[in-house]
């Protein structure tokens, strides 16, 4: 009898409502080190958005706006950049934010042996502290993408008093929320920083990021009221969220994409018709029905793509709309290329359910054109390794996207670049994209990127499939949330009603 009572009491207890004003966000994976210089994960950036302010931020329209720096001027030769800093900003431990702090941060990013930010800041040669609130970067060459880097992890300011290799164990920044605790694979807890420079815009008392890898379970938690926002809602769950009471669906097209990288010259695996003949790659491209892919796998929520730039970016290129399926043309191209069908090809994919679904759809689409696809599913770590050493024919990979166009194309197609796994090499592309880095006039940059697009779209070192979309399930209690194309959750003006 007693036991039944206990059970009833347990079952009957109302879902514990958190303290008023505390926002609970369900993340899809556990962030890595909470150190902006070491951080490599997308979910890590989401946490930093609340924890660490940056020198600059962006608007939903992708314009760069001041955050810790109130103004910036670049010299006519593009080789010095002077920042004016916000007054009265303090770090979470109470120490002031000033020009010395900026200098210390940038220098750490450039020299700390575990920093992965170095390549983003190579152009900065020296840093001058002009006065308390003015700092000057002396550049080796004009660097157009630099300001966008400063609006991301490279521009996150850590308290100089807390800088150590173990920073991530107790991060101290100057963002709207400060670090309370972290339980690996479970949660990261932040609370409001009372002395935040923009404290008036912050209505929440705190924010908890709960790690729930399974999308179904993440959604179940939203439905039961145990979390307030589901990050990365599964596209196929959108309908259920729309129909449910008390929760809403929200989405925005992101900056990133998913694509297929071909091995053109990286080792022996490149010696296939697919790797050697652009016509065969074109045939593969034409065999894909991107609209159907989006419909079947993503309930039509992801926009088909044939270029790296998101429709929300000013660099979106209207000359390259998504390639339409033309199965006859694909067959003709294969015949023209003189390959015997069915042509066997291997696709390496990360073994996550959605990507598996995606490539199985692709597999059956291209089969009609004469490609016999073998799917090789690998864990992510192995996949990256294989891509790096050239042990692949086609590798299914995506990119979460960057604000500046350079971050979405340069390292994928220029000779010898870090993500150019297929080792595509074209001198003209190299010179166009390198030049685009040094030009500050947006119109001129657009022109350069369009010229490059004309070339790589014909060579097809990689195929773009669709633009990423950020999908959220949000409890109706949450108010004032604005979505951004970079997929970050900015909590200014957000409140939780009771």
């Amino acid at each position: 009898m007693k036991k039944t009572l206990l059970l009833a009491a347990l079952l009957g207890a109302t879902a514990f409502s958190a303290q008023a004003g505390n926002l609970r966000i369900g993340l899809e994976s556990d962030p890595d080190a909470l150190d902006p210089d070491k951080s490599r994960t997308f979910v890590g950036r989401i946490v930093f958005t609340s924890l660490c302010d940056k020198l600059f931020d962006i608007t939903p329209e992708l314009e760069i706006v001041p955050q810790l720096a109130t103004a910036s001027t670049t010299s006519d030769d593009g080789k010095t950049m002077t920042l004016t800093l916000r007054e009265g900003v303090t770090f979470h431990d109470g120490t002031p934010f000033d020009a010395e702090a900026v200098k210390a941060n940038i220098e750490r990013s450039k020299t700390f042996d575990e920093s992965v930010r170095k390549s983003e800041l190579t152009s900065i040669e020296t840093i001058d502290v002009v006065d308390d609130l003015t700092v000057r970067f002396n550049l080796s060459a004009p660097d157009a993408p630099l300001i966008a880097q400063l609006a991301d992890r490279s521009g996150m300011m850590m308290a100089p008093s807390a800088l150590s290799p173990e920073f991530s164990n107790a991060p101290v920044c100057s963002g709207p929320f400060k670090y309370v605790e972290r339980v690996a694979q479970d949660k990261i807890v932040l609370e409001k920083y009372e002395d935040y420079w923009n404290a008036d815009a912050i209505d929440l008392d705190g924010v908890t990021y709960t790690i729930i890898p399974d999308s179904t379970v993440r959604l179940a938690n939203l439905q039961s009221g145990d979390i307030d926002i589901v990050n990365q809602l599964a596209a196929t769950d959108a309908e259920a969220v729309r129909n449910a009471k008390g929760i809403s669906f929200a989405n925005i097209t992101g900056l990133g994409y998913q694509g297929l990288t071909f091995n053109l010259a990286n080792g022996e695996m490149a010696q296939t018709p697919l790797g050697q003949d652009a016509k065969v790659r074109k045939a593969f491209d034409l065999a894909l029905d991107r609209a159907a892919i989006s419909q079947v796998v993503f309930d039509g929520l992801f926009q088909p793509a044939s270029q790296p730039f998101s429709p929300s970016s000013p660099y979106y290129n209207p000359d390259f709309p998504p390639v339409e399926r033309d199965i006859e043309a694909a067959k003709a191209l294969l015949a023209e290329a003189g390959v015997a069908v069915p042509l066997k090809v291997k696709i390496q994919v990360p073994n996550t359910p959605v990507t598996m679904q995606l490539v199985q759809v692709i597999q059956s689409m291209v089969a009609e054109a004469g490609f016999e696809v073998e799917i090789i599913a690998k864990e992510f770590a192995t996949l990256l390794n294989d891509a790096d050493v050239g042990d692949f024919q086609i590798s299914q990979q995506g990119w979460s996207g960057r604000i500046d166009p350079d971050g979405n194309i340069h390292q994928f197609v220029t000779t010898g670049a870090g993500f150019n796994d297929g080792q595509y090499s074209n001198a003209e592309i190299d010179s166009l994209l390198n030049e685009a880095r040094t030009v500050s006039d947006p119109a001129k940059r657009v022109e350069l990127y369009q010229k490059a697009a004309a070339i790589y779209s014909e060579d097809r070192p990689l195929l773009y499939l669709y633009h990423l979309a950020w999908l959220y399930g949000i409890d109706d209690k949450v108010q004032g949330l604005t979505l951004y194309p970079d997929g970050m959750l900015r909590l200014e003006g957000v409140s939780v009603a009771d």
Binding site: T216, T236, V297, P353, Q357, V361, I375, A377, K378
Partner: protein, 295 residues
């Protein structure tokens, strides 16, 4: 060491072995639980074997027009996330799951039994080395060992079977060794040794037949464990790779569509349950039938 003529051991041989086999068979036939298990297993084995000749739809053929459709006349068990027929995938999946169970246990037996015999019969250093290694393997939880091995070998059905086989091997080493120790101390083995019968002959004629019954029981029960282990590995993405179906990988996909298409998760779970139950019942029946003490 008693001195008994060779003929006597031969007599002991027939007396000990032959009748017990038929007695075991009789006992098994009257064991209703064991028989029920045998039927369950047989049902799925027949389905799996007949898969290529049954009038089924292609298990990998996709249909964009019928994605995640609930059971209907056209698709008796419904369709999956890219419009494949689930009935067909279930039956083809039975092949993968049963194969995984049987092959991994075969690996465990083929590696484990000889090692166990070596350890038990020769003793000394051989025994010490084999036993320490067995203990080391046994000290690592079965599933964790299988996961680590499968991750190391790379995800595929073959590798999953190999990983499960290796992880299941120590049990067989241990059982065989214990059984050999008991048998080797029996008088008739002692005397066979005394009259100069060669070691391989002794092992084959006296030791192996006595080792086999408990191994058979253990193997049947381990098939059940191995099927669940394969399903678990596939569930984690470390087993059967798409587009080929296995019940575990079907469950792995299905868990993402629980609210929209619960039937996707229902069938593979039920099938695993029935097959595993079948092997467990069969194992119980065999144990009772082969146990000389119970009558």
């Amino acid at each position: 060491m008693t001195n008994i003529p060779t003929t006597d051991t031969a007599v002991a041989d027939t007396v000990l072995d032959r009748p017990s086999e038929s007695r075991a068979w009789r006992k098994f036939r009257s064991h209703s639980i064991g028989k029920a298990g045998a039927f369950m297993v047989a049902f799925f084995v027949i389905l799996a074997v007949l898969a290529p000749v049954l009038p089924l739809q292609d298990p990998v053929a996709t249909d964009w027009g019928a994605v995640r459709k609930s059971p209907s006349f056209a698709h008796w068990l419904g369709t999956d996330e890219i419009g494949r027929d689930l009935l067909s995938r279930m039956i083809w999946g039975a092949r993968a799951s049963l194969l995984a169970g049987v092959v991994s246990v075969a690996i465990a037996v083929i590696l484990g039994v000889p090692l166990g015999i070596l350890a038990g019969y020769f003793g000394g250093w051989t025994d010490a080395v084999i036993s320490r290694c067995t203990e080391a393997l046994l000290a690592m939880p079965f599933l964790i060992l299988a996961i680590a091995l499968a991750a190391f070998l790379g995800p595929s059905l073959t590798n999953a079977m190999l990983a499960i086989g290796i992880a299941a091997m120590p049990v067989f080493i241990r059982i065989t060794r214990g059984q050999v120790l008991t048998v080797a101390a029996e008088d008739y083995v002692e005397s066979a040794r005394a009259v100069g019968l060669s070691t391989p002959k002794i092992l084959r004629r006296y030791v192996l037949p006595n080792v086999l019954p408990p191994i058979l029981v253990q193997a049947t029960l381990t098939v059940a464990t191995a099927i669940i282990a394969e399903a678990s590995l596939s569930f984690l993405g470390l087993g059967q790779q798409p587009p080929s179906p296995s019940w575990g990988s079907m469950l792995n996909t299905a868990k993402n569509f629980l609210s929209q298409a619960p039937w996707m998760a229902l069938w593979p779970g039920i099938a695993i349950f029935i097959v595993v139950l079948g092997f467990n019942l069969l194992g119980d029946g065999l144990r009772d039938a082969l146990d000389p003490r119970s009558d």
